[in-house]
């Protein structure tokens, strides 16, 4: 855990992201593309994205309390954050990831 670093400078912390989708739907592809873009723009080099397809692993939905799809879960840094939707609103995604102050 990079507790001290993330506490001192949250922006410098490592981001561990997990994107839950159900199959290769247009929405899930769009969400992944959007996420990739946002991460490249704002978190270059300090993020990892794990894509979980619930069609293949339905039992994983319960653990993170997944309801809506697609859902992006920020597992690190803590606290856990969830962003649902196709992530097309970049500002909202950044707010959700604590990369930008809520306005």
């Amino acid at each position: 855990m990079q507790v001290s670093r993330s506490a001192a400078a949250p922006a410098a912390a490592m981001y561990q992201l997990r994107l839950y989708v159900a199959g290769q739907t247009p929405k899930s592809i769009l969400a992944f593309t959007n996420l990739k873009q946002i991460c490249e723009d704002h978190l270059q080099g300090r993020y990892e994205i794990e894509v979980v397809d619930l069609m293949q692993n339905p039992q994983l939905a319960q653990g993170d309390q997944i309801l809506a799809l697609p859902t992006l879960v920020r597992r690190l840094p803590e606290p856990i954050k969830k962003i649902i939707g196709d992530l097309s609103n970049t500002d909202r995604v950044l707010v959700g990831l604590d990369l930008r102050e809520r306005r």
């Binding site: 839950y20 159900a22 929405k27 969400a31 959007n34 619930l54 069609m55 339905p58 039992q59 939905a61 319960q62 309390q65 997944i66 309801l67 809506a68 799809l69 697609p70 859902t71 606290p79 856990i80 954050k81 969830k82 962003i83 649902i84 939707g85 196709d86 992530l87 097309s88 609103n89 909202r92 995604v93 707010v95 959700g96």
Partner: protein, 440 residues
């Protein structure tokens, strides 16, 4: 689960442990059902503060979870407990609505029976108006307080493709779960057995054509305070137990222990019958719950104990929890039920004063087959107890008013000349004229 169909419980309010401990008090063992693979519990928690919404989404995740749970146990039944709490967790009502509609459609296509609970909204059946487009059947539960006494009621609002009862039915939640009691059929189609059973006192039997009550008939005993209504009932119970009949006694005034002690003082010991399992008391404060609930409880106790004799002592105490009309309606249903089961019932009723008992009891008495009136008159500085049979359908009965005394050896009718005619106590002396001895 009783029907052997596995089920899925998806709860949106309580987590699995909470719900398991809550329903344990209703007699369900959720953890055991989960272990044996009959039930899958999935707790869905939506925390608005944790969630940021951006762009299009759907509730496919919910579908996936439900589908997974259904497949895991092979569920035929699904319960979604307060799915409306999603509306508090997610902002986009439009998406939610269309997704829920899709969900219900999907459940139907899956061939599972789904029960969806929701809270009642203001002027609507559910807060979000879900019922309008999704459900094949809507059951409305209600908790009403009337005169400080609450009754839970249940009503089937809609049930597609069936003739459903439209009435409100009271229901009860206890250790056996929920029991619902339909209003009994008011059709008058009871059988009319010819068998006669003893009142427990040969003197009283004698006044009833010498043979006592008809089996399955309803006997009303009225009298002012202290006229010996309960004593008469105790003799009736005692005699029935001697015959080996199962007797159930509802008490709304005394506790069973008080009653047993008091009846011992007139030489009737009911305790052995309890030990023998022939007699059961069911004591309740009338104000404990509403009339409907009393009715449900009584139905349930009758069903559990399966008696041939039932005593309700006294019915008048029920008046404290309902209006006269309500009590009458409730008793009608109770008597109706007892008659249907061919149970002989004795009901005692406290007459309010020395006057006009006949008028005050008219409404209930019309339901009664036999009506015995006890009175306490003052004659020359002494109270003299009297008993007469006001009516007894289908038999020749005495029109005489007989004096009786309550002694430590029981309820004893006196002859017209004041001599003790018979004593019914001890020993299996059940037939009229078994013992006659004079002198006090």
């Amino acid at each position: 689960m009783l029907f052997g169909e596995p089920g899925v419980l998806m709860t949106f309010e309580e987590n699995a442990e909470e719900i398991a401990s809550d329903v344990a008090s209703l007699g369900f063992d959720l953890p055991e059902l989960v272990r044996s693979g009959k039930l899958a519990v999935d707790y869905v928690r939506v925390e608005r503060a944790e969630i940021e919404e951006t762009g299009e989404y759907d509730l496919e995740g919910l579908f996936v979870r439900l589908d997974y749970a259904i497949r895991t146990v092979g569920a035929k039944r699904v319960v979604l407990d307060t799915i409306e709490s999603l509306f508090a967790g997610l902002k986009d009502d439009g998406i939610l609505r269309s997704e829920l509609r899709r969900l219900f459609r999907w459940l139907k296509d899956k061939g599972v029976t789904a029960v969806i609970t929701g809270e009642r909204g203001n002027g609507l059946l559910t807060k979000q108006g879900l019922e309008e487009y999704v459900s094949d059947a809507v059951i409305l539960l209600d908790h009403r307080v009337h005169d400080q006494v609450s009754t839970r009621r249940l009503r089937v609002v809609k049930y597609r493709g069936s003739h459903h009862g439209t009435n409100e039915y009271p229901f009860l939640i206890d250790a056996n779960g929920i029991s619902v009691l339909p209003v009994s059929s008011m059709a008058l189609a009871h059988s009319a057995p010819l068998e006669r059973i003893s009142a427990g006192l040969s003197g009283v039997d004698g006044m009833l054509g010498g043979k006592g009550f008809y089996r399955g008939s309803t006997v009303l005993v009225t009298g002012t305070a202290g006229t010996g209504k309960t004593s008469l009932a105790a003799h009736f119970l005692d005699a029935a137990c001697r015959r080996g009949e199962r007797c159930l006694c509802f008490l709304f005034e005394e506790s069973p222990k008080q009653l047993i002690r008091n009846m011992r003082s007139i030489g009737v010991d009911l305790e052995p019958w309890i030990a023998a399992g022939l007699l059961q008391f069911h004591a309740d404060r009338p104000s404990r719950y509403g009339l409907e609930t009393h009715l449900v409880t009584m139905h349930q106790v009758v069903a559990d104990f399966n008696p041939t004799i039932t005593v309700i002592d006294p019915i008048t105490n029920l008046m404290t929890v309902g209006t006269y009309m309500d009590v009458q309606a409730m008793l009608t249903r109770m008597i109706d039920h007892l008659k249907t089961l061919n149970i002989t019932a004795m009901l005692t009723s406290l007459a309010p004063g020395q006057t006009d008992i006949e008028r005050t009891e008219t409404m209930i008495s019309s339901l009664m087959d036999t009506w015995i009136v006890l009175a306490n008159d003052e004659v020359a500085g002494h109270h003299r107890r009297g008993l007469h049979v006001l009516k007894s359908r289908g038999m020749s009965h005495s029109n005489e008013r007989r004096e009786f005394v309550l002694t430590d050896s029981g309820f004893t009718l006196l002859d017209a000349d004041g001599l003790r005619e018979s004593a019914d106590l001890g020993g299996p002396r059940l037939h009229e004229g078994d013992v006659r001895h004079a002198g006090v």
